[in-house]
């Protein structure tokens, strides 16, 4: 076998807490790019593949096709049926995970050094030669339908569906990528083959590899595994037109605790103010016990077990979301407190102390993410999908540090829209009804 490393570039990055992540960009002889971190101390490799577009590439009228197709990749490939494939995987002690979302299809693999070639053969079969055998299609279809039926009774899922329907118009984001019972029941084997061709293509592929493998070994492996993928697939979706109406939407559901999902337009990850917004969100509702929302809603008033806000910069829309759950007779108060905090931060920004603590948290927590081969592979794939430079890890905390009090105050004023929030409430909330935000 012949191989040439067309390009190999290595960057050594010092993480704040002294960790070093040495990323090498490997381009295979066939032109496939991967970011690699060599970690020879344990004899296995973690590999993360992502195909941009994911379930948003469902063909019109075929909602759920990509999701069902993804579920079938491990249910028979090449000359192996579903159980033959599973037995082969067990016989290698490897693990392959296949997952799909609105923005990408992800494949997470790990395999031992000693049988790497066989594992790659098996993984290749699942990606390039899935059989979509009729009995497997029916079996996995029933599993998907079971999941959809469960979602129909899940308060969080009901809230999420309603919010998406309100916010995203006719974009794929407006509906669940799992499809509906009707759309999934109608999918044919041909639809799955078409979804496979639409999504798994080289022009939307990103690869991260961490483990016991050299660049010289990885190059030909990439070509063997991925070289025969088609060059291109379905065209990417358009940007969504985000149009979130202000107000409250109540979905009547007989359960003791109401769930509220709230949101407003957000900020794209490549926005120059994204780090200021990240710092702002950390202070407002970023998930730690110290956030303003946790302090006011949980610690001071005991209204909930958890309340969070989070920026959602997706590929085709950016929103700013939050979540809280409170007993039916307390959810109205929880929502009132959240709105007050939203308004207060919009008007006043944050304090010097809050800014300092949020920065120390964000910069200190960053290296904690690099805790294992698979997490690092995922981080590297995420960086590539965002178009970040290979030395980003070393500069990321500087961008957090550069955020000033004035930046946060300005971004809070521009971004936070307390009168524009939409609260979707699922439950039997006392004192809340569908309509404009309460006075």
């Amino acid at each position: 076998m012949r191989y040439i490393l067309a390009l190999m570039m290595t960057v050594v990055l010092a993480l704040p807490a002294r960790a070093e992540v040495e990323i090498t960009e490997v381009v295979s002889p066939g032109g496939i790019t991967a970011w690699l971190v060599q970690e020879p101390s344990i004899p296995f490799t973690a590999m993360e593949l992502r195909f941009r577009g994911g379930a948003s590439l469902d063909a019109p009228g075929k909602r759920g096709a990509t999701n069902l197709m993804t579920g079938l990749l491990e249910e028979g490939a090449g000359d192996l049926d579903a159980r033959g494939f599973a037995r082969a995987l067990e016989g290698l002690a490897a693990s392959f995970g296949y997952d799909v979302g609105d923005d990408s299809l992800a494949v997470s693999a790990r395999f031992l050094t000693e049988n790497r070639d066989q594992a790659v053969d098996l993984l290749r079969a699942s990606l390039l030669e899935p059989t979509f055998a009729p009995d497997a299609v029916e079996r996995v279809r029933q599993q998907v339908l079971t999941g959809i039926a469960s979602d129909d009774k899940d308060p969080d899922e009901l809230a999420s569906r309603e919010f998406d329907k309100l916010a995203y118009g006719d974009h794929p984001y407006a509906t669940s990528f799992r499809g509906t019972a009707e759309s999934v029941a109608a999918l044919t084997r041909e639809d799955l083959v078409a979804a496979h061709q639409a999504v798994l293509a080289k022009d939307r592929l990103y690869v991260g590899v961490v483990g016991d493998i050299t660049p010289e070994e990885l190059g030909p492996l990439l070509d063997k595994l991925l070289g025969d993928l088609p060059e291109t697939g379905a065209p990417m979706p358009e940007m969504a037109e985000v149009n979130i109406p202000a107000g409250v939407t109540v979905i009547d559901y007989d359960t003791p605790q109401s769930v509220a999902l709230f949101g407003q337009p957000g900020m794209a990850q490549d926005d120059p103010d994204f780090f200021a917004a990240t710092v702002l969100n950390q202070i407002l509702g970023g998930g730690s016990f110290e956030s303003r929302l946790m302090t006011e809603v949980r610690e001071k008033r005991g209204l909930t077990y958890g309340v969070y806000s989070y920026l959602v910069p997706r590929d085709y829309a950016a929103v700013y979301m939050g979540h809280v759950a409170s007993a039916n007779d307390r959810i109205a108060e929880a929502i009132a407190v959240i709105r007050d905090e939203w308004a207060k931060a919009a008007a006043e920004g944050v304090t010097e102390d809050e800014l300092r603590d949020a920065k120390t948290f964000l910069t200190g927590a960053y290296p904690l993410r690099f805790d294992g081969n698979a997490p690092i592979a995922q981080i590297m794939v995420g960086m590539q999908m965002l178009g970040l430079p290979i030395d980003y890890i070393a500069t990321r905390n500087d961008k957090v540090e550069a955020v000033t009090l004035a930046d946060v105050k300005r971004v809070a004023g521009e971004l936070l829209d307390p009168e524009g929030l939409q609260f979707v409430v699922v439950g039997k909330p006392v004192g809340l009804e569908t309509g404009p935000l309460p006075e």
Binding site: A17, F44, D79, R83, P256, F289, G302
Partner: protein
């Protein structure tokens, strides 16, 4: 793809035995006051996980105050003599770390994950709240509302969780494992300051605690720090021996039918009372661990073959067993019926499959594949120092020793087909079981 099958047959022989020899870099010792210490070294990143496990969980609560172990876990984030309420978490966050805690039947644990050079600060604060908690009546009222909302979220809003509570309550005739960790709602509502303090005073003591430190640390340095911060706390002389009311012989099969309009997908759950891993005696538990894989460990399992491939009775089937428990645990089966299959039909098919398994016995190739994966698991586990830390903490808090944890992989590898069938015969007794249906309301049935 024709080469795949031929290749697979060879793989088992390829995995060298040396590659899976235990290699967890674990050091253990005990402080003079009786606090156990486990250090797991992983120098790949300058990060440390610091955990303190108390050998006190919900099964150690006094009758009538269910949920107090978990309530106290929340209250440990309030003020001490030396820290304001919330200061510990705020300090962890301000140092770029994260922290949390969790409660189970047999233990309550607190942890922080942070840059390795902050270990001393973590110990200082954790030791402080082991000894110096200062609770107020206001803490009690607000935090009680929080745990009630937590129960609302985890249990009251979730019919599967409500069903699970009923299953457990029916399984245990006399043991505290029949009471939910988070507590029964009516008892949670009555928890007060004295309940919390009584539990705290007895159990939050160094001779009832295990310190686990995993990450980029030197065991000698950990020892010096542990002696400085934890070593000075006096042992609790009145720590009771850990003896709980035990199960009598179980002699009657029980049945639970839980109906709720929020049920989307009905299923059958069968649980059998089963032995746990005991110190120096883990053989039956090892055989049960492998039995669960054989019966319901995924696509290649026996139940999947009978219920999902040979027939389409089920859309999902599974078997579950975890041997880490102080007292008798359960071995569980779950069957989710396919379309147009009733719960009764699903249960009957499950029982028929079990009966045929008892006749067919263990498939030798399947057993080999499972053992191979267990060996490989030890290679993958080295990528996860936190996982190792959790494994030691949970085991030591559940009556096992460091030697038991280190022997476990070999005990698993030594399990034979005969061991598995013997333990299956012993444990899968209908008289020791609960059969549960999670169902829709009657009027929604066909």
């Amino acid at each position: 793809m024709t080469h795949l099958r031929a290749v697979m047959a060879l793989i088992a022989a390829l995995l060298p035995m040396a590659a899976w020899a235990a290699n967890e870099n674990v050091t253990t010792f005990e402080l003079e006051n009786g606090m156990q210490v486990v250090v797991v070294e992983d120098h790949r990143a300058p990060v440390v996980t610091h955990m303190v496990w108390y050998k006190a969980g919900s099964a150690d609560e006094p009758k009538g105050s269910s949920g107090v172990a978990h309530f106290l876990e929340h209250l440990l984030f309030k003020a001490t003599d030396n820290m304001a309420a919330g200061e510990l978490s705020a300090t962890v966050a301000a140092n770029g770390g994260r922290d949390n805690a969790f409660t189970s039947y047999d233990y309550t644990a607190y942890y922080q994950r942070i840059a390795a050079d902050r270990l001393g600060l973590m110990m200082k604060m954790e030791a402080d709240r082991m000894e110096n908690l200062r609770l107020t009546p206001e803490n009690i009222e607000t935090e009680r509302d929080v745990i009630i909302e937590e129960r609302n979220m985890r249990t009251e809003n979730n019919p599967r969780a409500l069903f699970g509570e009923q299953m457990n309550a029916a399984q245990y005739l006399n043991h505290r494992y029949g009471v939910p960790v988070i507590g029964w709602m009516h008892e949670m509502q009555a928890l007060d300051l004295d309940d919390a303090l009584n539990f705290y005073d007895i159990y939050y003591s160094p001779n009832d605690a295990i310190l686990v430190v995993a990450g980029d640390v030197d065991p000698a340095e950990v020892k010096t720090l542990a002696e400085k911060y934890y070593g000075v706390i006096p042992a609790e002389p009145n720590l009771p021996e850990r003896v709980r009311t035990q199960e009598p012989p179980q002699t009657a099969a029980r049945r639970v039918i839980f109906r709720d309009p929020r049920v989307a997908q009905p299923y059958v759950n069968r649980s059998y009372l089963a032995p746990e891993r005991d110190a120096g005696d883990q053989k039956d538990a090892a055989a049960l661990t492998i039995l669960a894989e054989i019966l319901g460990g995924g696509t290649t399992s026996y139940l999947a073959e009978k219920l999902q491939f040979d027939t389409q009775v089920a859309v999902y089937s599974g078997a579950f067993y975890s041997g880490v428990s102080l007292d008798d645990t359960t071995f569980d089966l779950i069957v989710v019926p396919g379309p147009d299959v009733s719960l009764q039909q699903a249960e009957d098919a499950m029982d028929a499959a079990l009966a045929s398994f008892m006749k067919d016995g263990v498939d030798a190739e399947q057993l080999e594949r499972i053992k191979l994966q267990l060996r490989a698991q030890q290679i993958y586990a080295r990528d996860d120092a936190d996982g190792v830390a959790n494994r030691y903490g949970a085991a030591l808090a559940s009556g096992l020793t460091v030697a038991d944890v280190q022997d476990w992989p070999d005990v698993l590898q030594a399990v034979t087909a005969d061991d598995i069938m013997a333990v299956a015969k012993k444990v899968l007794r209908i008289e020791g079981s609960v059969t549960g249906w999670l169902a829709k309301p009657v009027e929604a049935d066909q």
